[in-house]
């Protein structure tokens, strides 16, 4: 009979592959990568790459829960950061798209806003009154990135559902 040592010295075969695939399958089910970890990592990397300040989500409009399910009501959310505050109003278009109106205050020279949805980025210009519009924007999980002019750090929001 072969000893452990003999068996250890043999080359890997397909059955070793099957055993390891099964080990992976068991661990994948029993101890999955936590939901959100991959997104958290990507977010942290984006913040790092932009040297950005992370805004706080201050408030989501009270009617939002209903609006999420019925796609009919407008919804507002407010973010605040050291450099600026933003109010965003979402007006449903249909099940897939939404109109986004925003108002940036506190920093006069924010020039550009980005809506980052997965690998897709939609850019809008901020006007002299601090207002911007994206119409239409795809529904789903997004982050807003505000890029002020001059020496001010960009501001990135946490992931929100629009």
């Amino acid at each position: 009979m072969s000893t452990d040592r003999d068996i250890a010295a043999q080359p890997l075969d397909d059955f070793d592959g099957i055993l390891l695939d099964t080990v992976a399958e068991v661990f994948r089910a029993a101890d999955p990568v936590p939901a959100g970890l991959v997104e958290d990592v990507k977010f942290a990397l984006t913040v790092q790459a932009l040297h950005a300040e992370v805004a706080e989500l201050q408030r989501v409009g009270a009617e939002s829960a209903l609006a999420r399910s019925e796609y009919t009501q407008t919804q507002t959310m407010t973010f605040s950061a050291e450099a600026l505050s933003v109010m965003v109003t979402l007006s449903p278009i249909d099940a897939d798209e939404v109109r986004v109106d925003g108002w940036v205050t506190g920093h006069d020279s924010t020039v550009r806003v980005e809506i980052r949805a997965g690998t897709r980025t939609i850019t809008a210009e901020v006007d002299d009154d601090g207002r911007f519009t994206v119409d239409p924007a795809p529904r789903g999980l997004v982050r807003f990135v505000f890029l002020p002019a001059g020496d001010v750090r960009p501001v990135i929001t946490p992931t929100v559902e629009i």
Partner: protein, 194 residues
């Protein structure tokens, strides 16, 4: 890029994404995160890290990668580099919480799933799991991480885990040999019933 090895292993795909990132494709980093986070998660957990410590270690390691980007000469080494970094970060956080051991030790069962919570689809899986849990903790840790890589990457992963005793690839190595012997000696094991 993969040299003589034309198989698209996890390490090779990671190397391609990392090269693209360094060449200026920022989105390639997202692909790299998608590819490697599972093996890194299990690297941290296999060392007995709690879920919170493991998440912290994985996230910090990704940030370190961006900081150290230029120091990684060979893109093919990026997976091993991240595994080493996760192992060290896990150790660092655990040490901050009062643990002194560095290497994967003999008492790390808190991150091993409880079989009673597992749905083991087939009888073969249950028998395999029983024997897996009877392996020395270091072997369990090695096989757990190896299982999330591809065969040509096993040797690099063993090295990154600092576990030459169990080194797998091109030969089977001691840990897999122990598992196969245990299965072969189990009368309830019906060969390749997986």
């Amino acid at each position: 890029m993969a040299g003589a090895d034309t198989v698209q292993t996890l390490a090779t795909r990671a190397a391609c994404a990392f090269s693209s990132y360094r060449d200026g494709d920022v989105r390639a980093m997202d692909e790299l995160v998608d590819l490697l986070t599972p093996v890194l998660w299990h690297t941290a957990r296999a060392q007995g890290a709690s879920e919170a410590v493991a998440q912290d270690a994985v996230q910090t390691s990704w940030l370190r990668l961006v900081e150290s980007c230029e120091r990684i000469k060979d893109p093919q080494a990026v997976m091993g580099w991240l595994i080493v970094t996760v192992r060290r970060e896990t150790w660092r956080v655990q040490k901050a919480h009062g643990r002194e051991d560095h290497d994967i030790d003999e008492n790390l069962t808190d991150s091993v799933p409880d079989p009673s919570t597992l749905v083991l689809r087939r009888e073969g899986h249950r028998v395999l799991w029983t024997h897996f849990q009877e392996l020395p903790p270091k072997c369990q840790a090695l096989l757990r991480v190896i299982a999330f890589a591809d065969r040509p990457d096993y040797a690099a992963v063993s090295e990154a885990l600092k576990m030459p005793m169990g080194s797998i690839g091109p030969t089977r190595g001691r840990c897999l040999a122990k598992l196969r012997t245990a299965l072969a000696n189990d009368p309830t094991w019906e060969g390749g019933a997986l």
